[in-house]
């Protein structure tokens, strides 16, 4: 409770809430709360006049999501950037493939093709070629936001905003993608935070996040959670609630449990709330959104009549606005033994704070029950002071135990290897 009060005091100092509610009397909030019941259609057709107001203070004005780059960074420049990336002793980073625009989630085909999703480019790329060449081709085009890809039982799965597609035997003809088959379409149509990630559960199903279509709102009923989908039958079930915008997750090889990254709300302050790393220990667990953030920060609008203690706190607070996206447990043999079963997280980097944070790959060793998280900035940073040089969006272990990093700003894939 002490921590929660401190956190709230900090939020108030930032001046965000003070303008709207006044921080002295949190009781007032409880009465105001009714106005923000966004679960009905009327709310969205006629939002209350201050619905969006109070979401920024003077210091935060003009902060916008990073514009990124429309075209990929040329190879020669990538080499220069990577020369400045710091890694632990013995590790090396090199360009694995360049000119992979908007590289997001990656997946290995059985025959060694790398499939790479994109953000709003609508394309899934293939990267392959004889003798280890890295020929990059737009394999599937014309989707909306196919950020999530996975390879399972000889088929490529791609998740777009509202559909999960299966492409059979894709490596048989990389010149032209086979017709995609919709295997699941019971997703809401919302584009905001509608981009997804695919986490194979190891038993043939996928864990799939469904983000909320807002920064902060009472989520429409079909959003704000993780669900588990069986691509064979189209069956689905909710596995985790109170999720805002997760674009990364993985199953712990030690326990089979789902872990996932989740991006916290914007416009509270530079330093609040932290983005989360969560562990699902039982079906239907609630992780707090929109009532409670980072396990101990009541939301200024929705937190008044709920307690943080009702919800599962994160295993690890990643940092404010740091945007941890793709994550994987490391199971390879190339890296030193202390990396085994630890987590690599691609921290895409902040926009909703004055000083940039993230733009790196984080390593976290943590017990199977979520205890004793120990962090290490593994690779970074893709920043030159405040200039963005790249944005890690996903990580993937290669068959040889090295680690690939997808960069959706520079449009490149890097390989991190280790040699004693």
């Amino acid at each position: 409770m002490r921590r929660q009060e401190t956190a709230l005091a900090k939020a108030c100092l930032a001046g965000v809430i003070a303008a709207v509610f006044g921080c002295a009397s949190m009781a007032v909030q409880a009465q105001e709360l009714k106005k923000y019941d966004s679960s009905g259609k009327d709310f969205w057709l006629k939002p209350p006049p201050d619905w969006f107001l109070g979401d920024e203070n003077k210091e935060q004005k003009g902060q916008t999501p990073n514009p990124g780059q429309p075209t990929p960074t040329p190879k020669a420049e990538l080499d220069k950037i990577l020369a400045g990336i710091k890694l632990p002793p013995g590790f090396k980073i090199a360009v694995w493939a360049d000119s992979v625009p908007q590289a997001r989630q990656m997946a290995w085909g059985d025959k060694g093709t790398l499939f790479v999703g994109t953000f709003d480019k609508g394309t899934v790329h293939s990267v392959s070629g004889p003798d280890g060449q890295k020929v990059v081709k737009p394999f599937i085009t014309g989707l909306r936001m196919p950020t999530g890809v996975a390879f399972q039982d000889g088929a490529l799965y791609v998740v777009d905003i509202d559909k999960l597609y299966r492409y059979d035997n894709p490596e048989a003809n990389l010149e032209r993608a086979p017709e995609g088959k919709v295997v699941y379409d019971d997703f809401p149509p919302y584009v905001p935070h509608g981009w997804k990630y695919l986490v194979p559960d190891g038993k043939g199903w996928f864990y799939i996040p469904v983000g909320v279509p807002c920064n902060i709102c009472l989520p429409p009923a079909s959003t704000g959670h993780y669900r588990r989908v069986d691509p064979k039958t189209g069956a689905a079930e909710i596995v985790a609630l109170g999720v805002r915008n997760s674009v990364g997750g993985a199953v712990d090889p030690r326990t089979g449990q789902l872990w996932f990254t989740d991006n916290g709300r914007d416009w509270v302050s530079d330093d609040l709330p932290n983005d989360e790393l969560n562990r699902v220990s039982k079906i239907g667990e609630h992780f707090g959104y929109p009532y409670c953030h980072q396990g101990d920060l009541a939301d200024p609008k929705y937190g008044a009549d709920r307690k943080c203690s009702e919800f599962t706190p994160p295993v690890y607070k990643q940092g404010p606005h740091i945007a941890g996206l793709g994550m994987k447990f490391y199971t390879g043999d190339m890296f030193p033994p202390e990396y085994k079963n630890g987590i690599f997280i691609a921290q895409h980097g902040s926009w909703n704070r004055a000083k940039k944070l993230g733009y790196r790959v984080l390593f976290l060793s943590v017990d199977p029950d979520g205890k004793n998280p120990k962090e290490q900035v593994f690779a970074g940073t893709w920043l030159d002071d405040q200039k963005i040089l790249g944005r890690p969006a996903d990580v993937l272990q290669a068959p040889d135990g090295s680690l690939l990093v997808a960069d959706d700003q520079a449009g490149a894939i890097y390989r991190i290897s280790y040699q004693k």
Binding site: D50, W51, F52, L53, G62, Q63, P70, D120, P189
Partner: protein, 192 residues
């Protein structure tokens, strides 16, 4: 590649551009755009946006999305298909350097307070800036043709407009009525 492009500038740059102060060299490919987007990027064609003064990155993204088929640009589809990354970077820089359009002469007068009541809560200025000149991936709205602004907003609202910004723009436009859209379009068109 760079030297070839420079040579093309010298060979094909229209005299009008060469005389501007400071001189803005039009990439050869920009000749193709004039028919719909106007001389110096100021459109006189209905539903066809002015490009002059648009942020460099904004123009580049739109071209990339049209080339990829994310945006369906109608008659432009054939033209954008052949653009190289280099062409796209040149066009982005070129239109960003041109003087933005003056306030749209035929914009209908609107109640500024009403426009602000719609746009304020949606934080339009946060990305498009207080003077609506745009920045980064966010387009310039000031002085844009109102018919085009109406089309763009309706396309965002319906989800037809794909590509950059579709998430944020859908979030703010989904609650807009047709008359709201017309009102803010004319308000923005009249902005200097």
């Amino acid at each position: 590649m760079r030297s070839v492009v420079t040579a093309l500038f010298v060979m094909f740059a229209a005299p009008a551009y060469a005389q501007s102060q400071p001189p803005i060299k039009a990439p050869a490919i920009a000749q193709t755009c004039i028919a719909c987007h106007g001389i110096r990027g100021i459109s006189t064609s209905k539903d066809s946006p002015s490009l002059a003064g648009q942020p460099d990155i904004f123009t580049q993204y739109q071209l990339v999305f049209m080339r990829d088929g994310q945006r369906q640009p109608g008659v432009m589809a054939g033209i954008v298909k052949t653009l190289t990354d280099e062409n796209i970077r040149e066009l982005g820089a070129y239109y960003a350097a041109l003087a933005p359009p003056p306030p749209f002469a035929k914009a209908e007068p609107v109640d500024a307070a009403k426009a602000n009541a719609i746009m304020g809560p949606r934080r339009c200025a946060n990305c498009h800036k207080d003077d609506f000149s745009g920045q980064g991936e966010t387009g310039r709205l000031a002085g844009q043709r109102p018919d085009y602004l109406i089309k763009a907003l309706k396309d965002f609202r319906s989800g037809a407009r794909r590509g950059r910004g579709m998430g944020a723009m859908m979030e703010v436009s989904v609650t807009l009525q047709d008359e709201d859209i017309a009102l803010i379009a004319h308000y923005l068109a009249a902005k200097p």
